[in-house]
């Protein structure tokens, strides 16, 4: 543990939090239709798609559009994966992807998960990466943001019927938010040494004089959006630990910012669009506070290192599975940011973390990917918890609970609880089944509690739409491809649908004026309360499972047993 490391952690969180305000306000003006720079382009798209941008949709229409769009996206990606062998831009001459892997990968990218059961540079053609994956990197991110904006409007409007037009939100989000940011970040990455080429590979002469085939490709463009859109699917198999995907301290710093920039900013957008800035900052402070706390915990665990290894004479923290150019602080910070933000990219191997260090990414994902969560999905997930917090504690001030002037009633609570059920059902359910079937246990690399953590991590990552993996876990089997695929699918849409139903219910309610008797949701006390509710409603149910995984492993490590 060193002071510069602690300072860096603080600094990275602070910078990302600081940029949330301008970025969030800009996003608000985009979705309120005040950014019209590319109006003719926009209008062209609408004409092409036969969409009337002035016609707004109710919750049902909006949800249907989201689902239809994603179903089409899934089908297109699945076909590309299955047909890539006969499609152009295939310099390495890869064949078709297997059916279950193609299903898994198509689900993975449409759900903004980017779980990679495949090795990118050895399985997918450039066309698949660019047309299939990168497209989904943009539109799955835009889908999440659009849903979050629809929910935001549910609070902003009073006794209204409509939540906006999904096609307009999708277009504006891509055109004014994601594309410009991705272009800037991609160019910056190219300048910092990330390759961007249509070549397949080149042959390099190693120091020992041997020849090595180095895969390259259009990496920078994909890396930019994989971070900005909290996707995480790397161009290369080892993701951001790969020296061409993330060559230096500065590319790492830029990507760290890109991972959490939009999710944090959307909290500010929420406050701005509902004309309750302070409430937006309360959500932001919970998100940023959690990032800081969890990064601190992970860094503490990793830099404290492994006492057994240290007893063998290896001084310092736990560097197994970490890149020397990043060290403990930037590796744990990356792990925290990516798992907090539902971004599956890794720059170190979470599997090799100390038990408690590995618990941090696992637990952050189990909390529902809301701290700050995926783009959009983090915000609407957070709002679900805010609704629960307001409902439980709000009663204590003697009024029917309200959040931002909207009464929280039976239907809203029902939908919020449905959304909360998804994570434990899929994570614990599939983990428990996989933990007792001999066939599925073969995928585990390590014995004991660590093996359990590996299985749990896979389903957690899937249901949380994160996409990162405890390396060492062989997930490319029919069972895991299918069940993790289902986890991703339900982890995304079984939350979007109830959330949209909440939006539909809230938008129709009158927006009540705040008074002295109104439960205050724009205070530090509420931020604390919200954090507590997230831990209790989102985390408590995982406590027994975590106790059997990382917690017992940690105690065993202190006792001298490793796995």
């Amino acid at each position: 543990m060193t002071f510069p490391d602690w300072f860096q952690i603080l600094l990275f969180v602070a910078v990302a939090t600081a940029t949330a305000t301008p970025l969030g306000r800009y996003a608000a003006s985009v979705f309120e239709g005040r950014v019209r720079l590319l109006a003719p382009v926009e209008a062209g798209f609408y004409r092409l798609a036969g969409v009337d941008p002035a016609r707004e949709q109710g919750w049902l229409g909006y949800t249907f559009a989201v689902l239809a769009f994603n179903a089409a996206g899934f089908a297109a990606l699945y076909l590309i994966l299955r047909l890539q062998g006969v499609l152009p831009v295939n310099p390495q001459d890869f064949g078709a992807v297997d059916a279950d892997l193609a299903f898994n990968t198509a689900v993975s990218f449409t759900t903004n998960t980017n779980w990679q059961a495949y090795g990118g540079e050895t399985t997918l053609t450039h066309l698949t990466q660019m047309m299939g994956l990168t497209t989904q990197n943009f539109v799955s991110a835009a889908t999440g943001i659009a849903v979050a904006i629809a929910v935001t409007r549910a609070f902003a409007r009073s006794s209204a019927r409509t939540l906006g037009n999904f096609w307009v939100d999708l277009t504006r989000c891509t055109l004014y938010l994601l594309l410009p940011m991705a272009i800037v970040v991609a160019l910056a990455l190219v300048a910092l040494g990330v390759p961007q080429t249509l070549e397949g590979s080149f042959v390099a002469q190693t120091v020992e004089g041997a020849e090595q085939v180095v895969s390259v490709g259009p990496a920078a463009s994909q890396v930019a959006i994989k971070q900005l859109g909290t996707n995480g699917g790397g161009f290369f198999n080892v993701n951001s630990a790969h020296p061409l995907e993330n060559p230096s301290y500065w590319t790492n710093a830029l990507q760290l910012w890109a991972i959490v920039a939009i999710p944090l900013a959307l909290a500010v957008t929420f406050g701005r669009m509902t004309a309750r800035d302070r409430d937006g900052y309360v959500l932001l402070s919970v998100m940023a506070g959690a990032l800081l706390a969890f990064a601190g915990l992970a860094y503490w665990a990793e830099s404290a290192g492994n006492p057994i290894v240290q007893a063998l004479g290896v001084a310092g923290g736990n560097m197994e599975g970490k890149e020397v150019r990043f060290g403990e602080a930037l590796s744990t910070l990356w792990a925290t940011f990516t798992t907090g933000a539902s971004n599956g990219s890794v720059n170190s191997m979470h599997d090799s973390f100390t038990p408690l260090g590995g618990l941090v990414p696992l637990f952050l994902m189990q909390l529902g990917e809301i701290l700050p969560g995926g783009v959009g999905s983090g915000l609407y997930g957070m709002i679900v918890f805010a609704i629960l917090a307001v409902f439980v504690a709000g009663l204590m001030v003697g009024r029917t609970p309200e959040y931002l002037g909207k009464k929280i009633e039976a239907k809203d609570v029902k939908m919020a609880m449905l959304a909360v059920l998804v994570m434990p059902l899929f994570i614990l359910g599939f983990t428990a089944v996989s933990a007792v079937m001999p066939a599925t246990l073969a995928s585990i690399q390590d014995a004991g509690p660590h093996g359990l953590s590996e299985i749990m991590y896979a389903y957690t990552s899937g249901a949380g739409n994160n996409g990162s993996a405890f390396a060492g876990f062989g997930s490319d089997t029919t069972w895991y491809n299918t069940t993790i695929g289902l986890s991703m699918l339900f982890g995304r849409f079984a939350i979007i649908v109830p959330v949209m139903m909440i939006a539909g219910s809230l938008v129709a309610k009158p927006r009540l004026a705040p008074s002295q008797g109104t439960f205050p949701t724009d205070t530090a006390l509420f931020a604390g309360l919200l954090a507590g509710v997230i831990l209790i409603f989102g985390g408590l149910q995982f406590f027994p499972a975590l106790a059997l995984g990382p917690v017992v492993e940690h105690v065993m490590m202190l006792d001298g047993t490793l796995f």
Binding site: T400, E409, M417, L421, P449, G532, I536
Partner: protein, 692 residues
């Protein structure tokens, strides 16, 4: 607020032996799963209790650890029984009230008129055979057979059966006092009543059903809370069921009773068990205030009220104008003025007249002559609507007091040396009083104007603090009055209301309520007349006065049996307290879970993974005692919280922010800490007596 001791509607406040005995019996009856399924948390507890009981029998037969399984099973049943007991005791308190009400409703015979115009031809029919629209005759000493509207006659009616107030009230056709209630007794004269409620639907029937809890429907907020609790139950079911698989992986075969123990301690049994008791007790508190809520929804809504519309008269002011000051014109001494005022008011039996005498005695230290002594020499002039004057002719003096213009006219017509001219000081004082919202009365001796009596609406002494209190709770108060805007503004500022509606017509009230609602505020009001009905119906909480018309009572969603408009303030407090109690106990229940994990998880895996013993922060004696203590604590905490559920958590009229801080500290942090202490204590106790 009038506090009166009523004989019928009061609930037994304590826990009498009979009440507890009956509740214990009812707790057993409520084990019926068909009834219990309405309460998902407790239903799940019952199902698993049954499961563990079967395992206990198996252990007895096969020689397993029957002592442990049996104890777990027993405490699970206790958990269910305690929850049932809480509900039963809350219901029992209401039932006692219902029984007294029911006595008033026995076998009434109605005199049905075939022709409403002929009172002498009637047919005796049992009250329950009456149809809506029937016309009946009710004579002295008859019970009113059902709710109805008086269409002919005037009578005094004893309504003690429902209000507990033994003084009879007047009921007459037309006007705002035309509604009669079934079960009340006509004391004198007769009434012809048109029946408005069929058998079983009368006010009394509804009242009985309400206090008994038989008709109790879950309120919207209760439904929402139920969903939350059911959702949490499912979440923990998933966690516990999957734990069997995870445990198997870790080499720990988990016994069913142990998993059940974990499940039951984690699901929110505390609030689940107390939820309906809280609701019943909340209605009960209202009934004790002699307010009948027609639905639980209205009780909840009253906690949400943002704006209170209060009638000025009777609520904010005493209702009668009272003399507050005597102002003499130059040349008239204060003593002379006071004496004249007393003389002119001695025979005036109106409240205003009496208030002048009282003011003279209390503030101006005047000696008050006895009326009979004066009677011989004096001739009293009583007030008449034509002259608008009253006074006395005594010893050559012609003292008159009354409306200013009437006094001036009187003085002008009196014989006098000079042409009559009202003193400048007199007109100035009159104007000043009028501007301040008061009513000036002139006082003259023949043509000699003596001074002005300042009558004013006296604001109740503690009302300003009440309004300040309401403001801290975030509630705006609006005064409704028929006074002119000047008078209204003066009283409004003295009483400290936030707004007022002067010269209010029913339409004004309705418009005001609609405006408030459009701005997103919930409005409560009380009213009694037929013309209040639209506003009562429009308001989110409408409290109709029992003395009011049938129309008003139908339109409101609460009826105040004491007809005391100040009660609106208490009703709001009760509504808030109901919600707060739910929130506080829910928070407490959920916060409890943390400690229970720390008790049970290490105990579950101590054989397979002894390292998890590190989580046994409470230092519980053995795995079995740890599990058992958690289950026992979980059951006992329900009983311990019954008093809070019935009484409601302490409510203070402060802002939401400080209420939240206080309750969060008490029930949130308290809920985190209490089970650590409680489980440890139970563990020490059962280890000491060797149960585990």
């Amino acid at each position: 607020m009038t506090t009166h001791t009523d004989t019928t509607a009061a609930a037994p406040s304590g826990f009498s032996g009979a009440l507890v005995g009956r509740a214990l019996r009812d707790a057993l009856v409520k084990l019926d799963p068909r009834a219990l399924v309405r309460n998902p948390v407790i239903f799940v507890t019952e199902v698993v209790a049954l499961l563990v009981t079967i395992l206990f029998v198996r252990d007895l037969v096969s020689g397993g650890d029957a002592l442990f399984t049996g104890q777990i099973a027993a405490w699970l049943w206790f958990t269910v029984l305690f929850a049932n007991f809480a509900e039963a005791i809350a219901e029992g308190r209401g039932r006692a009230q219902a029984d007294t009400l029911r006595r008033a409703r026995t076998d009434t015979v109605a005199k049905r008129l075939a022709d409403p115009a002929r009172r002498d031809v009637f047919q005796k029919v049992p009250a329950e055979d009456l149809q809506v629209g029937d016309v009946v005759l009710v004579e002295a000493r008859d019970l009113v057979p059902s709710d109805g509207e008086v269409i002919e006659g005037v009578a005094s009616v004893n309504e003690a059966a429902i209000t507990g107030e033994s003084a009879p009230v007047i009921r007459e056709s037309g006007g705002d006092r035309s509604a009669v209630t079934g079960g009340t007794t006509v004391v004198s004269d007769w009434l012809v009543v048109k029946i408005t409620a069929g058998a079983g639907a009368s006010f009394m029937d509804r009242m009985i059903a309400l206090v008994e809890g038989a008709e109790r429907k879950k309120t919207p907020n209760e439904i929402a809370l139920d969903i939350l609790l059911a959702g949490m139950t499912i979440v923990f079911l998933i966690a516990v069921v999957t734990l069997a698989g995870l445990g198997a992986y870790s080499g720990a075969a988990l016994a069913v009773p142990v998993l059940v123990a974990l499940l039951v301690t984690l699901i929110p049994t505390t609030i689940g068990g107390l939820l309906s008791a809280i609701g019943i007790a909340g209605m009960d508190r209202l009934v004790k205030f002699n307010v009948l809520a027609m639905s639980g929804r209205a009780v909840e809504a009253s906690g949400d009220v943002d704006t209170l519309l209060l009638d000025k008269t009777g609520t904010i002011t005493f209702g009668n104008r009272m003399a507050s000051e005597l102002i003499a014109v130059p040349g008239v001494s204060e003593r002379e003025l006071v004496e004249a005022a007393v003389l002119a008011s001695l025979a005036d039996e109106t409240a205003e007249g009496r208030s002048i005498v009282e003011l003279a005695r209390d503030r101006y230290r005047a000696t008050i002559p006895q009326t009979p002594q004066l009677a011989d020499e004096a001739e009293f002039v009583t007030f008449s609507a034509a002259t608008r004057l009253s006074g006395v002719d005594v010893g050559g003096r012609r003292l008159r007091k009354g409306a200013v213009d009437a006094v001036l006219r009187f003085a002008q017509n009196e014989p006098s040396q000079q042409p009559f001219q009202a003193p400048h000081a007199f007109t100035a004082a009159v104007e000043k009083i009028a501007r301040s919202g008061g009513t000036p009365l002139g006082l003259t001796d023949g043509a000699r104007i003596l001074g002005v009596i300042h009558l004013k609406d006296v604001v109740k002494p503690d009302i300003k603090e009440r309004f300040a209190e309401l403001r801290r709770m975030g509630i705006r108060t609006v005064m409704v009055t028929g006074d002119n805007p000047v008078t209204a503004a003066a009283i409004a500022s003295e009483a400290g209301v936030d707004d007022f509606i002067a010269e209010a017509t029913p339409q004004d009230k309705l418009d005001y309520i609609r405006r408030e609602q459009a701005a997103g505020r919930l409005v409560a009001m009380c009213g009694d007349g037929t013309n209040d009905a639209p506003a009562l119906a429009q308001a989110d909480v409408g409290v109709a006065m029992q003395t009011g018309t049938q129309a008003a009572r139908e339109a409101g969603n609460m009826v105040d049996l004491d007809s005391d408009p100040t009660k609106l303030i208490e009703i709001v407090g009760i509504g808030k307290q109901l919600l707060m109690t739910r929130g506080a106990l829910t928070t407490f229940s959920i916060a409890n879970d943390v400690a229970k994990y720390f008790a049970i998880i290490p105990a579950l895996f101590v054989v397979a993974l002894p390292q998890l013993g590190a989580l046994n922060v409470m230092g519980l004696a053995t795995p079995q005692s740890a599990i058992l203590s958690a289950v026992i604590f979980n059951a006992l905490v329900i009983v311990a919280l019954i008093p809070i559920a019935l009484r409601g958590v302490g409510y203070r009229p402060v802002g939401a922010a400080s209420l939240l801080r206080r309750n969060l500290a008490l029930y949130g942090l308290g809920g985190l800490v209490a089970p650590f202490v409680g489980i440890k204590l139970v563990d020490m106790a059962i280890s000491a007596i060797g149960l585990a």
